[in-house]
């Protein structure tokens, strides 16, 4: 159960010869104020992979996600997204429409896709139930706690039945119990539907538990410093969380994170 450092090239061509779902080729991102947020990032994500991004605050995880989603354009290099992907994204902030009730917020992507009302209502109901907010469809976002708002935004992404899911620290504001439950649900969903997931988290445990691959990034400038394949059982349960390989990966990633934090250029 060795930790595998793939070469950067591997990151792209590794796995089957199918077209990658997401592919960043020597991507650089410089913000208008001159901040170099990403430096020569080369990263391919295969369909069906569950990839977590781990790294210190400000290393460009959100930036990379936005590039993948097409919300930012790279300053150099290019991004390719596999076709036929129904993409959903959970932003780092809840990003709810303050004037719409919770259910309407969740239904937004469905409305935009012109789904008929009966089906979308049902989907919204299921998505809200999944995040434990079935009773809150009728309230306005400002009447929710921070964690509840975040859960609404998760429900909004899940309601679309995406096959490519970009999530930016979705569970950061949740207690461990809820978080573990949602981790399990997400993992199950991923397995069941064959999703491709790119997942930003600060929790090493979460990353290991969920992912088939963990990318470790370092900051200033943001770059990928390691690409760790997690080889665990297909069905991961609480037993996996206390298994030696799990601990091993955690220790490994923890070391990489320390390295990322201390390696920061002055």
């Amino acid at each position: 159960m060795a930790v595998l450092y793939r070469s950067m090239e591997d990151g792209v061509s590794g796995g089957a010869a199918v077209a990658p779902a997401l592919y960043a080729n020597q991507v650089e991102k410089t913000y208008p104020n001159g901040t170099l947020a990403l430096e020569r990032v080369k990263l391919g994500i295969q369909p069906g992979e569950f990839v977590s991004l781990l790294g210190p605050s400000g290393c460009g995880k959100s930036t990379l996600l936005k590039l993948f989603a097409g919300l930012e354009q790279p300053s150099a290099g290019h991004i390719r997204r596999g076709e036929h992907h129904k993409l959903a994204m959970v932003f780092q902030e809840a990003t709810l429409m303050p004037w719409a009730r919770v259910a309407d917020n969740v239904r937004l992507p469905l409305d935009l896709a012109r789904m008929d009302r009966a089906e979308s209502e049902e989907r919204v109901r299921r998505a809200l139930a999944l995040v434990g907010l079935d009773k809150f469809g009728g309230v306005y976002p400002r009447e929710l706690s921070g964690g509840m708002q975040m859960r609404v935004s998760i429900a909004r992404a899940l309601a679309t039945n995406p096959d490519l899911l970009l999530m930016d620290e979705p569970f950061g504001a949740l207690d461990e119990f809820t978080r573990n439950r949602l981790d399990a649900d997400l993992r199950a969903l991923w397995a069941e539907r064959g999703l491709t997931v790119v997942f930003v988290t600060h929790s090493i445990y979460e990353a290991v538990y969920l992912s088939s691959r963990v990318i470790v990034m370092a900051a200033r400038p943001g770059r990928v410093i390691a690409d760790v394949a997690i080889e665990g059982p297909a069905v991961r349960d609480d037993a996996f969380r206390v298994s030696p390989p799990f601990m091993h990966y955690c220790a490994e990633l923890s070391a990489l994170l320390t390295q990322a934090n201390t390696q920061e250029q002055p």
Binding site: K66, A69, G70, L71, L87, A88, M89, F91, E93, T95, M97, P98, W99, A100, L108, P109, D111, L112, A113, Y140, R142, T160
Partner: protein, 263 residues
Amino acid sequence: MNPPLLSRPAVQRIAAPLAVGVVLLVIWQAVCTLMAVPDYLVPAPTVIIRALVEDWQMLSDALWVTLRITLLAFALSIVLGCAAAFLFVQSRVIEASLFPYAILLQVTPVAAIAPLIIIWVKDPTMALVICATMVAVFPIISNTVLGLRSVNPGLLNLFRVNHASKWDTLVRLRIPSALPYFFGGLRISCGLALIGAVVAEFVAGTGGTSAGLAYQILQAGFALNIPRLFAALFLITLSGVLLFGAMVLATRLALSHWHESEL
């Protein structure tokens, strides 16, 4: 749980300005009476009220004429203002190309182009409505454009990720975001529509057919019937305040559940 009557916000909102109004009126009355100011200079409130009652038939007819033009112009301003704002916000080039011409509408003195409008528009009511609209439309355009641009960038990203069409983005994101600004524009414009109707009648009105309050003011002025002039002015300002009140109410209904300015 029932707060005393006077500390309820709704009561305060009505009672406070009335109280101030009463105090002002009493002072006004006192000054007029004590200094024996002649009616034709500044009439005392009681004299104005008498004029209001005596000339009620004539004044209320005139008020109705003016209000009709006001409301038509206001409605037209909303429609045109929003349409222009929606157009402008589609692209910076469109905005840059056309906005100066919206300003042109605003800064062209109605008095100066009323003759041209009268020449081109046969129906006198329509001509007045057009003049008043010219006065009232700009704040709606300006505030609505500002509002349509003041969109939370995060939400804009959300819409882009979901491939929202320009139309959907407008209807579901930009318009709701713009509402506080839009209603701010309405609150400015409703008064301008009224004043525009009055000014239009001043400059373009042709008496007999549609005699609104401006006509009454002019006539009262020429005839030096100053109490009637003040009565007509009072009706105008009262309409203005009521219109504004209606806009405040509309704002509250539309925004109170989510916008901080109304919480």
